[in-house]
Structures are given as C-alpha cells and as structure tokens.
C-alpha cells in the first residue's frame, strides 16, 4: 500500500488511541470529582460518562493526532502538498463528524455534584481560602458548621446550621440568624487536593476546556460557524507541521511543534476570552466576535503555509532519520 493511502488509517488509529486514553482519564477524574461520594466506581458510571468524556476530549485528541501523524510523515518521502491535503481533509472530516455523531449520545450535561461530595462529616474541606467542617449533612442542610479562616482573629467560627449548595464549581454555605455568614469558593476534598493539577497543567487544561466548550457551543447554536472554526483549527495544525522541517535538528523541530500545539490552545483562550469581547464592543457584531479566533487561526495557518512553500526544503531531515 502506498504511503499516502496509509495516512487516513494511521490517523484514525492515532485518534482512537489518544481519544481512549484522554477519555478514560477524563472519566476517572469526573468520577473522583463529582461521583465518588455516591459509592464505588461502577462500569455503569463509566458507560454513562464515556460519551461525555469523548465529546470533551475530541478536539484536543484531533490536535494531538495531527501532531503525531506529522512525526510519521516527516520520516517518509511524501509530497508536501499531498500530505497537507490528506491530513487537512482527514482531520477536518473526523473532527466535524466525530462531534456530530457523539453529540446525540451525550445527553444532558452532568448534574452538579452534591455538597456531600466535598463535605464529608467531621473532615476538614477547603472552600476558597477557608476550611470548613460539618458535623452532619442532610439534604443540603449542614449542622454544626465549623469555619476556619487563618486570616481573621479569632480563626474559628461556629454556626449551628447552614444551607450548602454547589453551582458552577462553587460551593456555598449560607447561615442565617445572629451569626449569618456566607462561605463561598472552589471546594476541595481537603487541603491537599487529590485531583488538582499543578498550575501549568491547570492552565493547559483551562485552555483546552475553553476551546472544547466553544466548539460544542457553536455546534449546538451555529453549525455554519462550527464548520469554519473546525476547519480553521485543523488548517492551522496541519500548516504547523512545516515546523518539522524548520531546522536540520529533528529534535528541536519536534519540540517546536509540541510547544506550538500547546500555544494554539493558549492563543484560542486569549482570543476568545480577551480579544473577542473587545471586537464585539468595537463592531457591535457578535458574529465577528465569535469568528475572531477562527479568522486569526486561518491567517496564521496561511502564514505558515507561505513560509513552508517559500523558505523550507521539502523533506530536510526525514530521509536520514533511523529507528
């Protein structure tokens, strides 16, 4: 079989591997963060949550698969143009169809975890900057609530009862009466978080969440814009493969591609969160704002393509690489 014909199958294989790994990690993380208070992990939970996980990880999995496929293409003697067209076509078709097919399986978004997930009786739990412990918790009503705040004097406050709710990742405890107070913040199982990422990984995950959520929103609300956004992302990632021929040192090229792929997620987050609202205000047009990240990705992709065509040799380090 000729190499160009293999590319789609290799891509599908890579996508399958990366999607499964990412979805499994997403599922166990989701269970730990929102379902573990209900008891042991079950296959039923895994089966119910798997479509949601696949839906959430499909965008980063496609990006990762394009990068991995690029490593293979760089080692083979294939026409630049042909490789570009095949990767772009296959990546786009898989991303768009994958999201279209998985979406109906996902169902309703997962319910917010119950306060019990974070407030185990007589165990300190972090809520924002404070630590909280409850004697008992019944149907969202916490009894004998101890609040520890290291920045105040005295540090302890005890309230007889408080209502506990979880909304959009924020746990809120509200008490009434003479000691009325509200404690609100991101909850944590304890002060040493079980699933918390380090700050750099957390930034990466945040960027991925932004991009995935935007794509899912566009798919549901504006399908035409979703097609453009998906094309822009796959186009930029495919054009970025030219980095694999940037220098005569393959290791540097690969690392450069890796950091570029990481950078696209950050760039998207920056464009979607910081730039798009300003564009929207300036143009009073929400369409332009929604399309701003995609247009920037397309422009960047075209730039990479021009650099590739004008300045880079077709297959610099590939033929010599062994292994």
């Amino acid at each position: 079989m000729k190499e160009p014909l293999k590319i789609p199958f290799v891509f599908l294989f890579l996508l399958l591997c990366t999607s499964v790994v990412c979805a499994v990690l997403d599922s166990v993380s989701a269970w730990g963060l929102s379902g573990s208070a209900g008891g042991r992990f079950t296959l039923l939970f895994a089966a119910q949550h798997l479509p949601r996980s696949l839906y959430d990880v499909l965008v980063p999995s496609v990006v990762l698969s394009i990068v991995l496929l690029g490593l293979r293409i760089a080692r083979r003697q294939i026409s630049r143009f042909l490789a570009f067209v095949i990767v772009l076509g296959v990546g786009y078709v898989v991303l768009v169809n994958g999201m279209l097919w998985i979406r109906p399986l996902v169902g309703a978004p997962p319910a917010a975890p119950s306060p019990r997930q974070f407030l185990a009786p007589s165990t300190f739990a972090r809520v924002g900057d404070r630590l909280v412990a409850v004697r008992s918790l019944t149907e969202g009503r916490a009894r004998a609530v101890l609040i520890y705040d290291a920045s105040t004097t005295p540090r302890f406050t005890v309230v007889p009862a408080a209502d506990a709710t979880v909304h959009a990742g924020t746990l809120t405890l509200t008490s009434e009466g003479p000691r009325a107070l509200t404690v609100s913040g991101a909850p944590d199982l304890t002060w040493t978080s079980v699933f918390a990422a380090d700050r750099f990984t957390e930034l990466f995950l945040r960027d991925i969440r932004t991009m995935s959520a935007d794509f899912q929103h566009l798919l549901a609300a504006a399908r035409g814009e979703f097609f453009v956004a998906a094309f822009a992302l796959v186009f930029l990632c495919t054009a970025s493969l030219m980095l694999l021929r940037l220098t005569r040192w393959p290791l540097i090229n690969v690392m450069l591609l890796g950091i570029a792929a990481r950078g696209w997620f950050s760039l998207y987050h920056f464009l979607a969160v910081s730039v798009a609202p300003q564009v929207s205000r300036a143009l009073t047009d929400s369409f332009a704002a929604r399309m701003a990240p995609s247009l920037a990705f397309l422009a960047l992709g075209v730039l990479f393509l021009l650099v590739d065509i004008l300045f880079l040799p077709p297959n610099r380090p590939g033929s010599e690489i062994s292994g």
Binding site: W31, L131, V194, D198, P250, I252
Partner: protein, 569 residues
C-alpha cells in the same frame, strides 16, 4: 560513534543542571519578597527557594538534557569502514547512570527537599515574628517605655543580629532604662534619639548626691553607678558609689539584727506559700528577697525550688519567646475530640519540638461545640507548653507578677481548674502531620506517612489525600527513571546526521526544549495523579499500590523496549 552515550550525556546533564540552578537562583533573588522575609535573609531564602524550584522542575530539565545529549551523539564521524557498535553497548552505561541518578533524585526529593521546605517556612514565620517585635519596639520607644523597647529589640536581634538600626536603637533604649527620670517620658522617634551624652551622666550624679544627702544609700549607689555607666570619666560618681557602698556595709549591729529578723519572717512567709501549694506566690516572694540578699543560701535554694514548682503548672514567658524563634511546624489544625457529645477543634499557629520530646505551642485557639452548633467554650492563648498529655497555657513573667498571660476566653465557660490546660489527643509526631498546607506532607517522609495514615483520619484529615500524596511520592523516582529512558530513545531517534554541526537556529531555539519537556512531563505526572486518585478513592490503598506498581513496570518495560528498538547506525 566512538564515544559511549554516557560520555555525551553527563556533560550535557551537568550543563543543564547548572544553568537551571543559576536561573532558579536568579528568579528567587529577583522575586524575593521583603514583606514576607527579613531583608537579612535574602540570600538564605533565595538559595532555599532556588533548590526547591530546582527539585520541582528537575524532571523536565533532566529530560530535556538527556534528549539533547542523545540527539547530538552522532555528531562525531565514524571511522571509514568501521562497523557500528551494538546499540546495547552504546546505551548500557547510560541506563546504569540513570539508575544511579534516580537513587540520587530519590534521596534529594525524600531527604533534603522536605527539610528545605520546612526551613523556608520557618524563615517566613521568623520574619513575621521579628516584624512584630520591631513594631512593638518602635511603639514602646515612641511611648517612652524603654524597658519594653529594649526587651522587644533584644528578641528582634536574636532573629536578625546584624541589623544596625536595631542595634543603635538598643543602645538608646538601654541607656534610657538606666535613667528612670526619662523612663516614662515619651521619647523621640528611634532614629532621632541622640547618643547618650555627658548631660545624662550629670543628671544621674545630681540624683545620687540628692539621695546621699537623704541617707538613702541604696538609691545613691544606684544613680552613681548609672552615671558611671554613661560616662566612666565621672570621678565624682565613683566617689559617691564608693561612699554608698561603705555606708551600706557599715550598718549598726542593731540595724543588722532588725534586718535579719525581718528577713527571717519574710523567708518563713514565702516558705509557707511554697508549702501550701502557692508556688508562683512563693517564687515572687523569694525573688524579691533574693534581690536584697544575693548571698543568702536559703533564699537562693528556695527560689530555685519555687521556680521548679512553678514550671510544673506554668512556664516563663521569656522562655516561650526564646523558643518561638526556633524552627517548627506551622498552621496545625485538628479535631482534638469528636464524639456524639461534642467536637473540639484546635488550631496552633506554630509548634516547636525540643530534644527529649518536649514541645512548645504558639498562638493557640480552641473551640468546643455540640451537635447543635452550641459553643461550650472558645479561647485563645498566645503560648503553651506540652506537659504529659496536655498543653499548659499559663505563662508567667520571670520578674513581674503582673505580667501573667492566661488563655482568653472568647465564649462560654471552662472550670477554673482547667482554664489554663487543654488535654491533647494527638502525639507530637501526629501534630506535625496535621499542618494545614502541602508543606506539612511535603516535609514528611513516606514511612512516616505510612505509619500515621490510620490515626490521622480521626483528627479531621481526609485519609484519601494522604494516601494519594504517599502514592505519588512513590511514583516520582519511577517517573524520573522512565522519562530518562524515554527521552534517550526520543533524542536518539531524532538525532542529527553524523558529522553535522548544530544549526544556528536550533541553538537559538534550544531554550524552548525544556519548556516543551516541562509541559509533557507535567502532563505525564498529572495523568498519574488522576489514576492514583481514582484507584485510592475507588478501590483503596492496597489495590492502588499494586496497580500503580504494575503500571510502572509496564511503562518501564515499554520505555526500555523503545530504547532497545533504536539502531546504532
């Protein structure tokens, strides 16, 4: 390929380590917080922070170095016609070196890094305490309370002995203490106080003359000595001091008999107090007697005995303040009692452990409440000392009975007998683990975590998080080894052509390599954390340990297989 991979890797590794260490040190110096630490601690803090950063990011730095070294291993041209060396021989020494480096990493991560983190936390705490002393000293000097100012400055100088301004302020405060006339007068700001001069000595000499005229030889002697301390050239002050000494020595027999009888009565009263259990009253009584009767053997003996008795129920504040400056565990938070009847929560800002199992506690707060949230009592206490299974919180001044520090009851009531005592459930070792911060667990060894994990849950710490932390610590050396082998394979498979020099653009872009490695290695570790957390919560520690061990073996086997699959051509 005439050189082994190891000979290429080691210089690159050392170069990357050195550059990373220098960069982290520079970062630590630049980001030094003068509000968080005393300026005098700048270099010490920077070194420790640099070391901690170095350890935190050692894996990506190491991975980048290994990959770069492996990818440059084919730069040297092979001799024409020479057969390629078997790849196993090329990498065997490197793999052996990775095993040694992994052992070194484990020792540093488990032995040195936890202590460095604890020491850094100590420096932060000491800086906070010292800043408080400086604030107290400034306020006391502005209020004219020179004795308090001197005491606060002395405490500050224990932490920061080289601070010139505080040394200068101490001289000012010490000189003012010897001039009672000025003792209660509001003083100028510390920086504006002039050095002691002849005028001060003259004033003391005049007072000494006045009291000598009144035949108050004790006071005359005191002021004459104060004048000599300020200006040793004052011969007249020496004369008055000498005269006062002679007069004090030359009391009449009748006077001496009366004084002896009076002393005997006072000693008996003080002894009665000691025998009746009022150790503190007896201590102050004997202390007062000792000031006028320095050579009295009875007074000295009973004073020591009273002091010993006092320390069974309380302790001296100055001792607590001295201990406070020693390294210790901070931010301890736990449930001291948690049963159907009530819950008792305790917070201790700092615990200092002493040789012999003794321990001191600082800034204690405790609250007891029942299942309805009604508070039975709530108190704070600045100092405490461990005595058996309890914390004593009765701090007494060594010289002034008025300066007694007892727990401050904020709410509710406690029986009088228990007012200054808190029964303690956790051991000192367990308290160390109950510090509310990652520093506490990071400061514990894995065996310690293993030993304490069963009991810590009763004190409010979620066992799962301790188990996850422990498992992750066990994973780290494996991660180091596996990533070393993987990066060797990666670097080798992406090596440059034989005889080619590094491209200029590649050298310029080289700093990006550790960044990419950091992203990848942190993702690798986060994936492990997710798996470990899931296994610990879902299936328990034993299952998690077994599965994670199997996973590490599989990953190591895969990494070695990838390395073995490389060609030496």
């Amino acid at each position: 390929m005439s050189r082994s991979l190891l000979s290429r890797i080691m210089p690159t590794l050392l170069a990357f380590y050195a550059i990373a260490a220098a960069a982290f040190f520079l970062y630590a110096v630049i980001t030094f917080s003068a509000t968080e630490y005393l300026s005098a601690m700048r270099w010490d803090v920077a070194l420790k922070r640099a070391f901690i950063l170095f350890m935190d990011y050692l894996i990506p730095v190491h991975a980048a170095a290994v990959a770069v070294a492996a990818s440059r291993s084919a730069e040297e041209k092979e001799a024409a016609g020479a057969p390629p060396r078997p790849f196993s021989r090329v990498v065997s020494s490197a793999v052996a070196a990775f095993l040694v480096l992994t052992a070194v990493y484990a020792v540093l991560a488990e032995g040195v890094a936890p202590r460095t983190r604890s020491r850094l936390a100590d420096l932060r705490y000491l800086s906070r305490v010292a800043s408080e002393y400086r604030r107290e000293a400034t306020a006391a000097m502005q209020g004219g309370d020179w004795a308090a100012a001197r005491e606060a400055i002395d405490r500050y100088l224990v932490v920061d002995p080289g601070n010139r301004q505080m040394i200068q302020n101490r001289l000012v405060a010490a000189s003012r203490v010897t001039r009672p006339g000025a003792a209660n007068a509001p003083g100028p700001s510390p920086a504006a106080v002039p050095a002691p001069d002849a005028a001060g000595a003259q004033a003391d000499v005049e007072k000494a003359r006045f009291y000598a005229g009144q035949s108050d030889w004790f006071s005359a002697h005191y002021y004459a000595q104060a004048a000599v301390a300020l200006d040793p050239r004052r011969a007249d002050a020496l004369q008055i001091a000498s005269q006062a000494e002679n007069e004090l020595a030359g009391l009449t027999r009748a006077q001496k008999d009366a004084a002896a009888a009076h002393l005997l009565t006072q000693k008996k009263d003080a002894l009665d107090r000691l025998e009746s259990g009022d150790a503190l009253g007896a201590y102050y009584a004997f202390l007062a007697l000792a000031q006028d009767n320095k050579n009295d053997a009875d007074v000295a003996r009973y004073l020591a005995e009273a002091a010993k008795e006092v320390q069974k129920e309380s302790f001296f504040t100055d001792e607590a303040r001295r201990v406070e400056l020693l390294p210790g565990t901070q931010g301890i938070l736990f449930f001291n009692r948690n049963d159907a009847e009530s819950t008792e929560a305790v917070s201790i800002a700092k615990m200092v452990e002493m040789p012999g199992g003794d321990a001191w506690f600082f800034d204690i707060e405790a609250v007891r409440y029942d299942a309805d949230g009604s508070v039975a009592w709530h108190f704070t206490a600045p100092y405490g000392r461990r005595e058996g299974e309890a914390i004593l919180m009765d701090a007494v001044d060594r010289t002034d009975a008025r300066n007694r520090v007892l727990p401050l009851l904020l709410e509710g009531t406690r029986p009088a007998a228990e007012r200054a005592i808190l029964r303690l459930q956790p051991s000192v070792e367990e308290l160390r683990a109950l510090s509310s911060g990652r520093t506490a667990l990071a400061g514990m060894s894995v065996p310690e975590m293993w030993r304490l994990r069963a009991r810590l849950g009763a004190y409010g710490l979620a066992r799962q998080s301790l188990n996850v932390e422990m498992s992750m610590r066990l994973v780290m050396p494996f991660a180091f080894l596996i990533l070393s082998v993987l990066c060797t394979a990666l670097g080798w498979s992406l090596r440059m052509r034989s005889g080619e020099r590094l491209p200029a653009l590649g050298v310029v872009l080289l700093p990006l390599l550790p960044v990419t490695m950091a992203v990848l290695s942190l993702l690798y570790l986060h994936a492990h954390r997710l798996i470990v957390g899931f296994l610990v919560i879902g299936f328990g520690l034993a299952t998690a340990m077994i599965v994670v061990a199997v996973l590490q073996v599989v990953l190591l086997a895969v990494a070695l297989a990838l390395l073995a699959g490389q060609s030496s051509r």
